[in-house]
Each structure stands twice: as C-alpha cells, then as structure tokens.
Amino acid sequence: MSKKITIEPVTRVEGHGKVTIHLDENNNVDYTRLHIVEFRGFERFLQGRPYWEAPVLVQRLCGICPVSHHLAAAKALDVIVGAGTGDGLTPTGEKMRRLMHYGQIFQSHSLHFFHLASPDLLFGVDADPAIRNIIGVALQHKDLAVQGVMMRKFGQEIIRATAGKKIHGTGAIPGGINKHLSRAEKESFINGADPLNIDKMVEWSQEALVFFKDYYVKNKSFIDNFAAFPSSHMSLVRKDGAMDLYHGVLRAVDADGNKILDDVDYQDYENYIEEEVRPWTYMKFPYLKHLGAKQGWYRVGPLARLNTCDFIPTPLAQAELEEFRTLNNGKPNPHCLHYHYARLIEILHAAEVMRDLLHDPDLLEGERVVKGQKTHRGVGVIEAPRGTLFHHYEINDHDQVTLANLIVSTTNNNEPMNRSVNQVAHSWMDGHPEITEPMMNAVEIAIRAYDPCLSCATHALGQMPLEISLYDAKENLIDIKRT
C-alpha cells in the first residue's frame, strides 16, 4: 500500500505551502510534490484599472516584496509611456529606482539569512526546535541577531526614503520617479550614528560572509551534498555580462555553463519562455521554449545570478565571486545550500551599490521623468530578491489595463524546489518512512534555500499551525498530526 504524507504549512518560508510525500509498497519514497497556493486573482483585479495605478496596486500582492512588484510594474509602464525599456530614464529616475531596489535586496536577503537560515546553520537539522529559531540565535549569538535586525532596518529606511513610505510607496511612476533624495536623508545614510550608516552595512556584510565561510569549512560535506543537483540557471545580466539586478537582458546557462539563452530583450519573453500546467497544483512550471518542459526548466535567484553573470561590478563582491567560483571549478554551482552563500555575496554587492549611489549628486537634483510616444504593450523584468520577476501589461485606447500577466520568482523556481524536496525525501525517508522533526526540517531547509514567496497577503490573527497528514493509496486520511 502506498502512503501519502502531508506537511503543511511549511514554516519559516513566505506564506503557506504544503508538501506531500508518497511512499511505495516498500516504504521508499515514490514521488513528492510541493503544493503552493498561489493567488492569481490580482491579474484580473488589474483589468479595467487605469494603467498608471498598476505600480501602486501590485504592491498589495505581497507584504514582503512590494518594492519588486512596484518596480517591475513601473518598468513595464515605462515602455507604455514611451520612456524606453529600462535604460531610457533620466539619470535621476534610474538611480533613485536602483537605490530603492538595492535597498530591497539588502533588507530582504538580510532578513532571510539572519532570521530564517541562520538557525538551521547554527543549531543543525537535528537540534531541538525549541532553540532552532531566531530566539535561539538571539540568546546564543546576540550580535548576529542584532546585525540582522539593524541591516533589515537600514534597507527599510532606504525604501522609505526612495519610495516615499514603507507600504504602498509611490516613488516609481511611469517614466521615472516622483521624488529626489533629500540632503538630510543622504547625510543620515552616509554619516548616521552607528550602526545605521552605509559603511557599517558594508562592514557587517563582509562579516556575515566570514561567518558563513567559516561555517562552510567546518560543514563542507553537509553544505555541498544537501539537495544538490545540476540544473540550468537564468537571470538578467547587463549587456556586457555584469550582474545587474535592476535591468538587463535575459541569459540562461546549462549545467556545464554553456549559454542556452543570451542577450534576449525581455520585451520578447513570450517567444522564449513557456509555462506548463500540471493538474495537481495551481502554480505553473516555466521552461525555456526551445528546450521543452523536460529539459528547459531552470533555477533563478541568487545562485542562478552568480552562475549566469560574467562578473560583479563592485570590487568587494567581485572578489567574493572569484572565490565562490573556485568551489566548482568555474562551472555553474549546483549546490542547493550555496543559495545562502550567493545571497550573502549579493548582500555585499547591494551594500556597495548603495554606497556608490548615496554619493551620486544625481539623486539630489535633476529631471525625474521622461515621456515619449505611447504604446499599448509593455513588459518589465527585474531581479527580485528571490529571482527573475516578469510583469506584462497591455492597455486599450482609454488607458485601461486589458491584460496583466505576471511570472513571479517563486514560480520560476517551482521545478527546482520540487526536485530539492524530492532529493531530501529520498535521503531521509527511503526505508525509514517516519515523520520525524529532523526530517520535516530537512524538507523545509531545502525549500527555504530558495527563499520562496508563497504569497498570500492576508494574515489576520488565527492562522493554522503546522499540520501533517498521512493518506493511504486511495487518498483516505489515516493519520494527522499538528504541532
């Protein structure tokens, strides 16, 4: 008799997901599925609304990466208002947006590493769940926990200064930006009292990397072998191959590093990317069209970005990239837990970019908006913290949105996340079909590496706790456990 084990919701990842593990007659793992409840009603919600509302409305999709949606929508609308495809803005417009975006990357990655991932690293998969959380980190590694809080706060303040406010920011508008950075804000970010200044953020970013690399030396086997598998990788890169999280062309590489997509203008993304529907989940499975669904799936996010770019255009992060690349002899890095390593290199890169931008006079003055010949279709793509994010809009002659299509980062990572869960399930449960706390956490660690955003913005009090259900081959519930 085969059995189905259900783990839901997955804790310490965004929102709410569910894992089912199906056992065969011999109590080995047959197959696994990661179910993500993706709410897609917002695409309908946008239809009929004036297009200029989109950058504000889309922030309501998600409470954790509203800035990414805000900027991706604004980039798409740049095209619609005739302001170019990402590189046609005024220097002030583009640099303010970049500061906003790198602030978002910085705060999001910091939150993920220090408060979601570090408990796994510090205490291990087998540790008592009572201490394997950030409170445990706070008690035993107070400095680390404080750094995480203050780095997150710094990034949030950057967002507030560039977007206008923490929630429902209005900073990015079609064709540009609606505010400059004030001199007081600039002064505060550069020379603010410790620790809330950019130099301290760069320093702490370097310290975080030292912490991880020290951990890696001591736990190399675990980090390298946990849910590792070869894959293709996709991201935006700058025209010259540099890492660029705000704008660029689409590039994908295969497991050997061969370019399987390169220099692609994302306005044409529909010619290159297809989404497969599978009957057991609402979340689609994107793939590169020319390779087909079986061969064309890919990873996105920090690990993918480090695998696709030729170099990182800031010196400290570039030095880290060079060291990172020696780990796999220059080939694309296939190690699931190296997402954390890559995320830390991106934190450092984001800090360096912010430091450079904060000294740029274009943030303080200059034209903010450009407009040109209006069109009826625009696509905006950005490298969100979790990976490549697509926003595609079409409008009618009355300026109303007639089509909105979004491919979010977590959707792009759907196939690799499923494969990671499968790997972990096999290694922990083959011959030992028991739901244990370490096994459950191992599954979560695999998913958590991708930092998925299982978006559901309602969060009122009274949420469901962790639930584990066991079904027989006929889908009869034979056991259920709640934490």
Partner: protein, 161 residues
C-alpha cells in the same frame, strides 16, 4: 511618555486593513488635539526591525484585524511569552516583544488591539460590521490615550479578550 501606535494589515484585502485604519484615525485625532509623544507606524505586517522600533517606547499599541471569536474588539497584553511564530511574511506581536527584550534589554508595555473582521476578499473597503467595530475601538482608545499614564500604571479597565 513615548507612545507608538502601530497598525498592520492589508488595505487591499477588505477587513484585513482594520489595524491600519485604526492607526490612521488615531493619528488624525492626536494631530487635531495637539498631543505630543506619539509616533505612528503602519505596515503590512510586523517584522523583525520593529523590535528596534519599540525598544525606546514606554507604551506600544499594536492594532490588527482578527478572525477570533470576539464581539467587536478587545485588548490583550503582549508579554513575549507565547505565540512566538515567525515567517518573513509576518511576525507575531509576542515575537517582536520577545526579540526586543532579548536583543535590546527593553520591554515596554505592549497592548494588542484585536478588531473583529469578517470579509477578506481582494478588494478595498471594510464590511459594514467591521466599520462599526472600528468605530468602537477608536472611541475606546480615545479615552485610553487621553490619559495614557493610567494605562501604564494600572492595566485595569482594559477590555480583555
């Protein structure tokens, strides 16, 4: 006395915006009355940096929508001893208080206003019943905050959950 009023939720999900709307109504009232010592924050959800935000306050009032079985609204004291849940989407008030205590060695008096909501669809605007509950909570807090020292000295008179 330094007081933080912090509403959280999603205005785009109907009654999920109750906490933010309460905070905004109180901010307008405080401004009109000319009271000092108040800070107002709104966000989709609480998050880790809020531990630093509350560390230098004497009284913190979190406000959130609630699906619990309550009449219109109620208040609970948040002591950081239970409901220590955390995802990057949301941190519980207890989690924030516990983090503040552990990281910054501070524990202000923290109250959570639970306001009963009913509708959570992807659109703006409160349900009729939620609008009424918001009004009740607002009037109650007007009285409480007119003399906030009493809230610090004595927790009597709070409307418990």
């Amino acid at each position: 006395m330094q007081i933080l009023i912090y509403g959280y939720g999603n205005l785009g999900r109907q009654d999920d915006g109750l906490g933010i709307l309460l905070s905004q109504k109180l901010e307008a009232w405080v401004k009109k009355e000319g009271f000092s010592g108040f800070t107002f924050e709104n966000n989709y959800q609480l998050n880790i940096e809020d531990a630093a935000e509350i560390a230098n306050k004497d009284l913190v009032i979190f406000a959130d929508a609630s699906e619990e079985e309550i009449d219109d609204f109620c208040l609970s004291v948040v002591d950081g001893k239970k409901e220590l849940s955390f995802t990057t989407h949301a941190a519980s008030p207890s989690y924030i208080v516990k983090l503040c205590n552990d990281l910054f060695d501070r524990q202000p008096l923290v109250l959570l206003v639970h306001i009963k909501g009913y509708e959570w669809a992807f659109r703006e605007g409160l349900s009729e019943k939620a609008e009424k509950n918001l009004g009740n909570a607002f009037r109650y807090l007007q009285k409480l905050l007119a003399n906030p020292e009493d809230a610090i000295k004595s927790r009597e008179g709070l409307k418990p959950c």
